[in-house]
Symmetry: C2
Subunit: 262 residues, 2 copies
């Protein structure tokens, strides 16, 4: 068993893989090799972090201390078939895949799920987000906790099992992916009406501020909360040209009405 993680290989060169590779490299970890389905992506990322790009999974260094799998959920089980490691710890970073998808590799497996949204241009020094950890061996939990706290800050490593992780991931979809889609609807409405999206920024920011101070369920405002039928009818008419937006407006408004006006 290793006493700490020093060398790392990264599988995946998307937003998450890029973040892990870049920030761990900056923290002084040696990045051995980088694999991506797209070799060019692997090559560019590897170059940035002083690593070797692998053309396929079998070409990865087989003596890294840690392998971080940050690829599309659907592809993990396929990739695992070809992964050969000597004694390293292998983790995936998915919110919704069970740890045991990695069972065939070895006894040293785990999950390192960062509860954050990453983009390629992101500041690699970003801290202050939780990392959810699950491991088969208790000793490996300690290793991942040390690494996670260096990466995200002290107190940011959480022991989260597969069931809880799935609930967190579902929550993340609501507060990140879905809210972002609502923002993009507003983006579209502003464009159609020749208004700058920036007009809505203070409102967007204050809504979030309020939601981190109070419980969101106590913060609800708006026409649906007041069951203001006239305004909702007017809004639906404004959305007449887009069935998709109209459907979203209806379904969320109905849920709010049911919650607050029963």
């Amino acid at each position: 068993m290793n006493t700490s993680i020093k060398t790392i290989s990264i599988l995946g060169a998307g937003n998450v893989g890029t973040f892990f590779a870049g920030s761990l490299y900056n923290l002084g970890y040696a990045i051995h090799s980088v694999y991506s389905r797209n070799y060019d992506d692997a090559f560019l990322l590897a170059k940035r972090v002083g690593a070797r790009a692998a053309r396929n999974v079998k070409e990865l260094d087989n003596n890294s201390d840690l392998y971080i799998i940050a690829i599309k959920d659907d592809s993990i089980s396929e990739l695992v078939k070809n992964l050969q490691v000597k004694n390293g710890l292998v983790v995936h970073t998915s919110g919704s895949i069970e740890m045991d998808v990695l069972d065939s590799i070895s006894n040293r497996i785990g999950v390192l799920y960062p509860l954050q949204t990453f983009s390629k241009g992101m500041d690699l020094k970003t801290k202050g987000f939780p990392i959810c950890i699950e491991t088969k061996q208790p000793e490996d939990y300690t290793l991942l906790k040390e690494l996670s706290e260096r990466l995200a800050g002290v107190g940011q490593a959480y022991p989260i099992d597969s069931k809880q992780r799935k609930a967190l991931h579902l929550g993340a979809v609501f507060v990140c992916n879905f809210t972002n889609y609502l923002y993009s609807i507003a983006e579209d409405l502003m464009k159609i009406n020749e208004l700058p999206l920036e007009l809505l920024h203070p409102l967007i920011i204050e809504t979030v501020n309020k939601s981190t101070i109070n419980l969101p369920s106590l913060n609800q405002t708006g026409p649906a909360k007041r069951n203001d039928i006239k305004v909702m009818k007017q809004h639906l008419e404004l959305l007449n040209s887009n069935t998709g937006y109209k459907e979203i407006y209806k379904v969320i408004s109905e849920a709010i009405i049911n919650k607050y006006n029963k």
Copy 2:
């Protein structure tokens, strides 16, 4: 015509009325009288801003320079029937009601729509949000612009007509009321799974940061964006006990799939 606004009466003691009364009072405006459907609310707010509480609309001071109507949209037209003013400017603060609902009062009417979400405990010094202004008389625009810039900051007063204002209000519903409801779904999911909601805060905040830097339509991530059917199916199963949440998950995911995978 007044050369500037010095005295104000407030109609409505909810979140918006409370904000206007409190922050205008702090800025040195004299608040004459406060009316609310609920007299106790009017009494308490009036006390805070050195004003007189009115038991009904007819009891309001009739010689204020400005009357700010911040009541439920549905009630504005009814309230207007009883409002008597000498020479003051009368504005409502609604995002979705036409200015001309005030036509019967006088020639000096307008709209003062703050594009922000207010709560009663809010910091009254909060600035940096747009105030959308519409007036019948061009001179009154100048008066409201001066007041708005003292209230929300220089450059925060925007001439916005009724049609644009409705689009802004609809956008506001999506980015504020609906996102807040999504947060409250996550709040519920965390509670059910005995996880602290705070775990999601860094994600919520980063999602907003990204949306103010890039266009939201370029930031979209998540299972629906990747058309990851397995994960979406798993999520829908997790939501089996709540038809409302399930419906929202489906409708938004379908919209994202349609947008990014066609």
